[in-house]
Symmetry: C2
Subunit: 115 residues, 2 copies
DNA sequence: TTGACATGCAAGTATTTACCTGCATATACT
DNA sequence: AGTATATGCAGGTAAATACTTGCATGTCAA
């Protein structure tokens, strides 16, 4: 269940692809456990639009929801972010300098610029 | 010029949002400097579609292109990945355990599950 | 110079996405 | 009970995205 397969990774990347959704995560990072209405305050779109963004974040497991009476409290879950970094970003980072070095060699070497 | 502003960060996130584009980056990670045709081999779509994906990766500066005669060589540039991590992902990761702890407290405390 | 190969450019379609409006439901407050 | 508050659900529109087909251009090799 906690398996981080390709589908769930894709959901995380897709969730992060929208600046509005990233702002929502930022908001929750600033203050965790906010209600829907509170989150709407900074979003310059209708409540329904914000709801839909939050649903994507929930589907990606980046946000966890807890009900308190009629209020929906939103909590940040940074685990998928870490998973994405660990399983995907890190491997590119590791060979960082090597690859740049290769590229530099190529550029300075046999390769020609297009006119 | 090398400024990593919000717009360029957005381009990177959007570029990473597609699994096909992520596969292209994986391919380049496995073997750097591949031609367009070589990259097409693993992509199960037309060459033009692959070209368009690569253009988005270029726009996000995740891929750098060098021409060698009639061949277009594609090189991975992991710098934007690192930038995204450093400027965006990391701050969520830092408070990782704290936030989970908060959440756990909330769940076990005053909050009630919805029926 | 001719033919094969590597790529570009442009326009068109289909799907997905972001967002809206309108109405329904449940909880809290008095 | 009655009103305000917090949210859900459903349907519709506009724009963005993924992908296609068709044709043009430039490079290599015989």
């Amino acid at each position: 269940m906690t398996t981080t397969n390709d589908l769930s990774i894709d959901r995380v990347f897709k969730a992060l692809a929208d600046s509005g959704r990233r702002r929502l995560l930022d908001q929750l990072h600033a203050e965790n456990g906010q209600t829907l209405t509170a989150l709407c305050a900074c979003m310059n779109m209708t409540r329904q639009a914000v709801t839909q963004h939050l649903q994507l974040l929930e589907a990606a497991n980046l946000v966890v929801v807890v009900w308190r009476g009629r209020e929906k409290l939103h909590y940040l879950n940074p685990v998928p972010l870490h998973a994405v970094y660990a399983r995907w970003v890190q491997k590119f980072e590791r060979s960082h300098l090597d690859l740049l070095h290769d590229l530099k060699n190529q550029l300075e070497g046999s390769a020609h610029e297009k006119a």
